[in-house]
């Protein structure tokens, strides 16, 4: 064999070996490939996921949702009116370690546990005395025998109580041995209980009212979440590799309410109406004259029957749309003076025996004629004694041919519409104008003394505040700022509903008339108040519901002649330089008694004025030095 032939033979052998190895490897890979495909098919078709296996591959993380802390509602001086804090519900798993003790066969362990439960019961009876120590022992051991895992200990305990309970025997050994179950839930706390509750409102699950409702978007805040992972020592920490959203607590609302004023008004009103079963409700508004800031708003009412207690059940200040009676005479007087029809309050009109065609006779005028022997009466005196005749006569005389002129005034005083307010739901007034179906030939006159027109108490208070403020009618408001951690985010400045409802001179004239009502008219109970008060009383009959009438044709009385009244006093103080406007109204159940604005409401106002005088810094007298004072070197 030549060398050439030998090389060729080697090459062929070499190639055969490579072919064999390659073939072998390809077979191996092919077999592996088939196995993989079969394995994949098997997994897809029949493999069930074992959680333990999955758990080994899954990173130990969990999503933690942070609930924001609801913002506070604060009084004007920063005292909290509504705050949020968690309360805790306590339960007990009575079966803890029971099975493991049974399985271990050591009865002594169970005995030790039960002895500790007896010690626990003694401690529980001290802090939760609704059950004696024996009672608690019985509850726990019976629960253990019956396998109770959720024995109620107490709901809604605070943090301090929780910490005390956690230190009790057995519970201090941890949840695994003691079985204490703690469930926390955010709760809204109202430290002043019922005080101003209709204004502050409340939160009950999805139901909200008052400021809690209207400022919910500010108070609520924003939920946050973060992913947490477990560390080597078993602690849960934030997983920095995952996304998170920072929780944002709610903003605080600073209201215009003065807690002391609210307290005084609440108490004064209760003093007048609490003992009187014929009184259904009482309200009070105190408003700062220059700004329109509401300093107090009381809404006390009873339930359907007089036996129920007074409580802030409904916001009558905003929602009680009704005929306000004689307090509306000031509306008529202001319009007459502003239009120049009444030039001086001493201007007189004929008495006509208290009779205006188409209207009921005013018998008070007959008394006036008899007592004075006069056949004329001044506008001032008519206002002082609150004569319906005088105001019907004036309205018919000056606006009879152009009633729209008077109604234009009413609308300019914002008594014809529901203006924007911090708590929604302000009642819409009902005004019978010449162009509305309710208009009749007596509507103008009755409107002049407070019937045929229905408004809310807040409308009336705002109007009187306009007079106190020399013609500038301020918009009432309840919230002065939105804050976060004491920093003001947004401030709500006072604003006006009408920059000028009348000239300052007109306001002064009407103030003089209002002052006369207190000095010599229907509100003399306020004459000796510690600050001079100017205001007007109003007594109105209230239309009865069909049920209350019981078949009577008179809308204002039932078959036995019982009537519903509302008595109001509205005014401002001190009369010379008004600082506050005040309105108090008392509503009665149907009764045979009359409720005048000059009685209970005026008495409540007097108590409020006297107490505000004593605590408001504006009236604190300064010490004036008498005799020689030591002079400083510089002065010498």
């Amino acid at each position: 064999m030549s060398q050439r032939q030998s090389e060729i033979k080697d090459t062929i052998e070499n190639r055969d070996r490579i072919h064999v190895v390659t073939f072998f490897l390809s077979m191996v890979f092919l077999a592996m490939g088939i196995m993989i495909v079969v394995w994949i098919v098997k997994i897809q078709a029949s493999y069930t996921v074992d959680d333990k296996v999955i758990g080994l591959f899954r990173p130990v993380v969990q999503k933690h949702v942070d609930t924001p802390v609801r913002g506070r509602i604060l009084a004007t001086d920063g005292r909290p009116l509504a705050i949020s804090a968690p309360l805790y519900d306590l339960y007990m798993d009575c079966t803890v370690l029971k099975r493991s003790y049974q399985e271990s066969g050591k009865d002594s362990l169970e005995t030790v546990w039960q002895n500790k439960a007896r010690e626990l019961a003694v401690s529980l009876s001290r802090i939760f005395p609704e059950k004696s120590a024996d009672g608690w022992v019985d509850a726990i051991l019976t629960g253990r025998a019956k396998g109770s895992k959720y024995l109620k200990i107490r709901k809604n305990v605070d943090l301090e109580t929780l910490r005390r309970v956690q230190a009790f025997p057995l519970y201090n050994e941890g949840a695994y041995r003691g079985g204490l179950i703690v469930e926390a839930h955010q709760e809204r706390i109202y430290p002043y209980d019922s005080l101003a509750r209709r204004v502050i409102g409340y939160v009950k699950e999805q139901n909200r009212i008052g400021l809690e409702n209207s400022f919910d978007s500010e108070l609520h805040g924003r939920d946050g979440y973060e992913w947490r992972r477990v560390t080597d020592d078993g602690s849960w920490v934030r997983d920095l590799d995952s996304t998170s959203v920072q929780v944002k607590d709610g903003n605080d609302i600073r209201t215009t309410l003065n807690v002391d004023f609210q307290d005084i008004a609440d108490k004064a009103l209760r003093a007048q109406i609490d003992a009187d079963d014929d009184v259904r409700a009482g309200i009070c508004i105190i408003m700062e004259a220059k700004t329109g800031a509401i300093r107090a708003m009381v809404n006390l009412s009873r339930g359907a029957t007089p036996q129920t207690t007074l409580w802030e059940r409904e916001n009558l200040v905003l929602r009680q749309v009704g005929e306000q009676g004689s307090v509306m005479k000031t509306v008529t007087l202001l319009s007459l003076v502003e239009d120049g029809y009444v030039k001086t309050l001493e201007q007189t009109i004929p008495t006509n025996n208290g009779f205006v065609p188409n209207y009921n006779q005013d018998v008070h005028i007959l008394d006036y004629q008899r007592e004075t022997g006069r056949r004329d009466i001044s506008v001032m005196h008519g206002f002082e004694i609150s004569s319906n005749y005088v105001f019907t006569y004036l309205a018919e005389t000056y606006y009879g041919k152009k009633p729209q002129e008077m109604f234009d005034h009413i609308y300019s005083y914002r008594l014809g519409e529901a203006f924007d307010f911090d708590i929604p739901g302000l009642g819409t007034p009902v005004v019978n104008r010449p162009d509305t179906p309710g208009w009749s030939k007596t509507t103008l006159g009755t409107t002049a003394y407070g019937y045929s027109i229905s408004v809310t108490p807040l409308h009336i208070a705002s109007f009187y505040n306009g007079i106190a403020n020399k013609g500038t009618m301020m918009k009432p408001y309840l919230v002065e700022s939105i804050e976060k951690d004491g920093k003001v985010l947004r401030k709500f400045e006072p604003s006006s509903l009408n920059e000028s409802i009348c000239s300052p001179a007109t306001a002064d004239t009407v103030t003089r008339a209002l002052r006369a009502v207190v000095n010599t008219g229907t509100a003399t109970r306020l004459k000796s108040a510690k600050l001079s008060v100017a205001g007007k009383t109003g007594t109105a009959r209230v239309v009865l519901s069909a049920n209350e009438r019981g078949g009577s044709k008179d809308p204002y009385s039932d078959l036995s002649g019982r009537k519903k009244f509302q008595g109001t006093f509205v005014g401002f103080f001190p009369a010379e330089d008004p600082k506050y406007t005040i309105l108090v109204t008392v509503y009665s159940y149907p009764s045979h008694r009359n409720f005048y604005g000059g009685t209970k409401p005026a008495l409540a106002v007097r108590e409020i004025v006297d107490k505000i005088y004593a605590i408001d810094p504006a009236w604190r007298p300064e010490i004036h030095p008498v005799g020689k004072t030591r002079q400083t070197t510089q002065e010498q």
Binding site: I189, P191, D232, V237, P617
Partner: protein
């Protein structure tokens, strides 16, 4: 590389492993400092990771403590304002038989604010 050379390399590798001079064969002494540096970096990384965990655990505990203080403060504040209202004070004084009442005249001050 031929199959023959491959098996030769495997044989040398096993022999070097048996003799304990594998690292010298792969000239690891030349890269010793780099290897040590990598180890150092890994050690520092693990240490930092543990420290971060420790800090986060501590921060979590502090956060819980602050939250507890906040709750305690809120509850105390609520309890305080409840007893601080004028009518509550008046009622308490009356219950205790005190003659003290709310002021009827404003307090005299040196200078009104």
């Amino acid at each position: 590389m031929s199959v023959k050379n491959f098996w030769l390399s495997v044989r040398n590798l096993l022999k070097a492993l048996r003799d304990g001079d594998l690292l010298l064969h792969v000239k690891a002494d030349k890269y010793y400092i780099h290897v040590m540096y990598v180890f150092l970096l890994m050690w520092v990384s693990i240490l930092l990771s543990l420290q971060v965990d420790k800090t986060l655990t501590k921060a979590g505990a502090n956060k819980a403590a602050i939250e507890e203080l906040r709750i305690h403060h809120t509850e105390s504040e609520a309890a305080l304002v409840k007893i601080k209202s004028a009518s509550a004070t008046e009622a308490r004084l009356k219950r205790l038989g005190s003659q003290a009442q709310m002021p009827k005249e404003p307090a005299t001050v040196i200078k009104r604010k």
